[in-house]
Amino acid sequence: MKAAPFDYIRAESEAHALEVLQQHGADAKLVAGGQSLVPMMAMRLARPSVLVDINRLTSLKGVENAADAIRMGACTRQRDVEHDQGLRSRLPLVAQALAWVGHIQTRNRGTVGGSLVHADPSAELPLAASVLAARLHLRSQNGVRVVDAAEFFQGPMFTATAETECLVAIDWPVWEGARTGSAFDETSIRHGDFAMASAACQLQLDEAGVCQRVALGFGGVDGTPMVFPELASQLVGHRITAQAAREIAHSASSRCEPGDDIHATASFRRHLATVLGERVLLKAADNARNASH
């Protein structure tokens, strides 16, 4: 349970970190909060020979409000985001998701970008990023490219990030307009454990309570977070009734291929996704109706 030997390089700047990545390729690994990577190194599931520490790069930290999106530096601590008041009003789904991420001790170190690039299929932030169609900024020595969440998550612990790239920022689209609501829910053995299944939803209603826009996703029930834009769009133009929510959640979960393991069977995970999917649709609709603006 001790990490294999490695050489440690504290990045002085983004350019320095990228230079080291370019030089060492797959032998090098970036460490941010280390809440996933350090345990993986302890178990020797990860064995980088060069560890590039980007924790002190202030250029990778902070939350910026733009008109239609919130930009987060990849190395922003989860705890700082959780406490950001602006986020609760403009990006409630992320605030709701963070309440399920690990514990106080891990959120104090863990970063937003770290959770995204780790890409655990049952993790909360990748699900929120998928549902909100976040845009991820990947920087290498060749410049920056922007990848949509839908293309970013490619498999369990596997993303579009190249060996020479560093996730530097995340743009979270903000849904403008009144009566927008969101909800996040999950089932795990104990709070803070990995989810057996999770669901997230954001939707927008008109004055009459008719759905105008909706996004729904599941975590923990496939190799990546799953979103269902076409299915969910069937709710547009309708009221979010319990029956409609259940039908959509059921159709969505039947499109997932969960794994079987010691914690839950595949069919139980699929069942959980249906139940959680219905709940988040109804809860998000409630929140949209109660939204003050």
């Binding site: 001790k2 050489d7 809440q35 345990p39």
Partner: protein, 164 residues
């Protein structure tokens, strides 16, 4: 070529005292505290961020000291369970309350529990039961039971303890 055996000089203030050492980069902060500084109050449980036994206060916030390397803590300040008591031979009010309410049995999780709870009390002097539960949600106890631990924190932060 990488030099995997390279030692790195670090300076860390632990419980108010500066320490300087040359360490292997792969040494975790908890191993540094225990093996280099002899501060064995901080316990090593799972070594992969699950049990919370190794919780220390790092630059003002509770973190798991098994989930970071000592080199990363260079220039930082750390408070361990040894730093909670006001002086040698005395206990802090929270530690007293742990004794009073029988909040420890085998004692393995106790350092992590104490540090996590003290961090809470430092932020919220009179926490609710829900806040206490949340504060220790990342700390596993396998024998005492959480009830007495929660009772102890509530007792330490209530009027009863200060008059007792």
């Amino acid at each position: 070529m990488n030099d995997l055996n390279r030692l790195v000089n670090i300076r860390i203030a632990v419980n108010g005292r500066e320490h300087q050492r040359a360490v292997e980069p792969r040494m975790t902060l908890v191993d540094f505290l225990r093996d280099e500084l002899g501060l064995t109050g901080t316990h090593v449980g799972c070594e992969h961020g699950v049990c919370g036994a190794c919780t220390v206060v790092f630059d003002g916030e509770p973190v798991r000291s098994c989930c970071m390397f000592a080199v990363q803590a260079d220039g930082s300040s750390v408070t361990t369970v040894e730093g909670l008591a006001p002086e040698r031979g005395k206990l802090s009010p929270l530690q007293d309350a742990f004794c009073e309410k029988h909040a420890l049995q085998c004692g393995y999780c106790t350092p992590g529990m104490l540090v996590a709870c003290q961090s809470l009390i430092d932020r919220v002097p009179h926490p609710t039961e829900t806040q206490v539960r949340e504060a220790i949600s990342g700390n596993l106890c396998r024998c005492t039971g959480y009830k007495q631990i929660i009772d102890a924190v509530l007792y330490a932060t209530s009027q009863d303890a200060s008059h007792g």
